[in-house]
Every structure is written in structure tokens, then in C-alpha cells.
């Protein structure tokens, strides 16, 4: 789902970042947020709603709507649309409110 050719933008060469999604190793690119890296791999479901367990995904991209909240390095409710991806991050689908350690 990466854009390779664009009439205006040049995303240039970007360093690869390795991270883990639900235990599976994936690669993102430098400059990615967690949500953009996952979306590039076609991962659209990021969490499950609190009561009806409905799938939740990316929505606002400005850290406002909470739809993309995931468990990152054990910490729940991380707004993945505004959190930069880092090497070695452990990212997991969040169920409901998540559990605070």
C-alpha cells in the first residue's frame, strides 16, 4: 500500500524499522507512525470496541478520536496515528479499554 510514484511528492530513501505486530515481525519506514506502518501492510483493524467488540481502525490521524488506540510495549491506549514508529516496538491489537500494568 506504499505510494511509489507521485507527481508532487518524493518520499526518498527511508531507513527500514523493524517492529512486532501481535508477535509477527513487520517492517516500517523511518518517518512512519505506528498506524501508517501497519496500514502499509494492509492491517486495518487496530482495536476492538469496548462493549460490542466491533473492529476499530484509523480515523482522524491527529490523535483526537481514540479509534486507533493500541497496546504498545505493554502500555494500552497509545494513539498510534501520532506515535512515531521505533525499532523493536511491540505493537498489539487492543481489546476494549486495555489493561494498565
Amino acid at each position: 500500500m506504499r505510494i511509489h510514484q507521485h507527481p508532487i511528492l518524493d518520499f526518498g530513501e527511508r531507513k527500514t524499522i523493524r517492529f512486532s505486530y501481535n508477535g509477527q515481525t513487520l517492517e516500517g519506514l523511518e518517518g512512519d507512525t505506528i498506524a501508517s506502518a501497519l496500514h502499509a501492510h494492509g492491517v486495518k483493524k487496530l482495536s476492538e470496541s469496548i462493549h460490542l467488540k466491533r473492529p476499530r481502525g484509523f480515523y482522524c490521524a491527529i490523535g483526537n478520536c481514540a479509534s486507533c488506540n493500541m497496546v504498545v510495549n505493554g502500555e494500552p491506549n497509545v494513539r498510534t496515528c501520532i506515535t512515531p514508529l521505533e525499532d523493536g516496538m511491540d505493537v498489539r491489537l487492543q481489546e476494549g479499554k486495555g489493561r494498565i500494568r
Binding site: M1, R2, I3, Q5, H6, P7, I8, L9, F11, L29, G31, D32, T33, S36, H39, A40, K44, K45, L46, S49, R54, P55, R56, G57, F58, Y59, C60, A61, I62, G63, N64, C65, S67, C81, I82, T83, P84
Partner: protein, 360 residues
Amino acid sequence: MKHVEVLIIGAGPAGLSAADVLLEAGAEVALIDRSDRPGGQLTKQTHMFFGSQEHYASKRGIEILHVLYDKIKDHPRLHMFSETTVAGLYPDRVVACVSGQRYFTIQADIIIVATGASEKSLPFENNDLPGVYAAGAVQTLMNVYGVKPGDKVLMVGSGNIGLIVAYQLMQAGVKVPVLVEAAKTISGYHVHASKIRRLGVDIRMRTSIKRALGTDHVEGAQIWQLDARWQGIAGTEETIEVDTICLAVGLSPLTELLQQLGAEVIYINELGGHVPRLNEKFETTVEGVYACGDVAGIEEASSAMIAGKIAGLEAALKQGYALEDAQARQAALHTSLKTLRSGPHGEKIRKGHARLGART
């Protein structure tokens, strides 16, 4: 607790413009943004701006951002706090901040709230499915991170955001077979609508989305025609094969912090929702707290930059900085804002501000 002279919340077009004026006046400025990069809506705007030279006409939003940010980024009196969310704003001008696992407070003499706006959603069946995204968010995904939202998109809404993002989706190699608009006329600029029509987008007026299809993510969309009372007409349903639904149905000002602070806000539909009551200096009902940009009423980035300059100048004066030609500069900025709001597309804004003024 740290203390700064002026604290600006939001490093978008309004916040950056206010910071520039204040730094030039001699003030110490803290600029806070929850994103890891400054710019707000400018970070994703690859289209050229309209207007005159002073409004950065024919420059792209991303280029304007460079002009604005490069000018201030190395300033010794600027304290930039990125990836920092303001979690609390109190009447004694104490600002509670969260950055990662860190919590800290800053006290400021003056606060400028330039938090911008968030995109609205639309009620329809399955509107919470992954793949139903706000149009501006899709613009960010593509133009900032270089990621496509999907392969085929249904665009909902013919305002400038809907029209421009439809075009930018196609620039990124994504198909946009259909755009639906509930009203009977295009609400954005016709030049944008004509451009996407030429590229083959089927623009359907008096049509809206009935439901999103799919279980785990969007696998299609059902649209239907609307009657004169905006109700869907049974029997006109049509299924469109798409994997993404973009909602370009307007924005709401992010006034939560102002409300928490106790600043008076009023609901003005034409301005996008609850907006702060401001005096002619863009000061809220709480002394020393100013608001500018989309948080004070949804407009375009061009207006936000002017409003940011006005708030910045007023804040500098309030803080006691002697500014040369302050009055002339203020008058020129207000005239400039008025120019941007003139013409048929500024009608809604003018009406909104007239209603807000009538309530003052």
C-alpha cells in the same frame, strides 16, 4: 513549575504565525503540539493556495509550512514541545502537559489556543468499520507517510476537502469511482469539481451513503438518492465496489481546552460548532487567553495564518512590547481577513461571525 511568557497550543498555520510575530516582538514563546512534526493541516496540503501574494497564493501548503517554520525553528527564544499533549488548562494559566510517560506543568502569562479542528463523522450503518476514514486523515496518510488508504474509494462530500482529497487520491494512484453529495449543488470550488470530473469521477448530487458493507473492514458501500427532506429514497440503493469510504463532511472546532478553562463558547452552526466568544483582539472571555485559527471557526489555512498574526500582535502588546506601527499592522491584517471572507464562498463564515457578534 516552568514559566514562559507566551504559550501557544497547536503548531498549525495559526500557531506558527502567532509564534513568528511574538518572537519578532521580543517575547519568549513555548509552542506545543501533539504531533511529532509541526504544521497541522499544512503538513499534508500538496495543493496550491488561492488568493493574493500575501496569502501565499500558488504556493503549496507544504511549502508554506517550510517558510513559516524555517523562519522560527532555530530562534533562541522558542521552546518547541512536539509529541506533547495539553491535558489540562486552568484559569490561572497553568498548562498541564503529557509527553510519552512524562507529565509536567507550565505557567504562562499569556496563552494562545490554536488547537484547530477535528473532522466530523456521519451517521450510517457500519460507519465504525475500519476503512471508513476522515478525508483529511487519508490526506495525511498519503501525503505525509506515503501510504495509500486502499485501492478504490467512495468519497462522501463535495466541499473543498472532498474534492481536493479525491484528486490527491488519484495522484497517489488510487481509484475514486464515485463522489456523493447530499445537497443539490457542489459546495466547494467548481474548478476543483471540474478537474475531478474530467478525470472520470462520477459526482452524484442528492445522494448519500446508506451503509458500509463488510465485517472486519470495508468491502463495499451502498449509496442511495435523497428526497427534498434529505431522506433516503427506498428502491434507489446501489452498491459500489470500494475498500475505503472517505468522509469529507465538515469539521468541528477543538474547543475542549477552552471550555475546561471556563472561556465562554457559543454554538454557531456556520462556524462548525462551539466556538469561543472573542473580542476584537481575539481574546476569549478569560483575560490573557487568546484563540485563533479553526478553533475559533472553521475556515481555510490562509485565514488561520492571518488570525494567528492578529492574536500574536495583540498578545505582544498585552505583554508590554512596544511594536512599531502596531495599529497600522492590525488594521492591515483585519482588512486582509475581510478580503479572504469576501465573495460567495465566504458567505457562511460572514453569516457565522455576524451571528456570533449578535450574541456578544
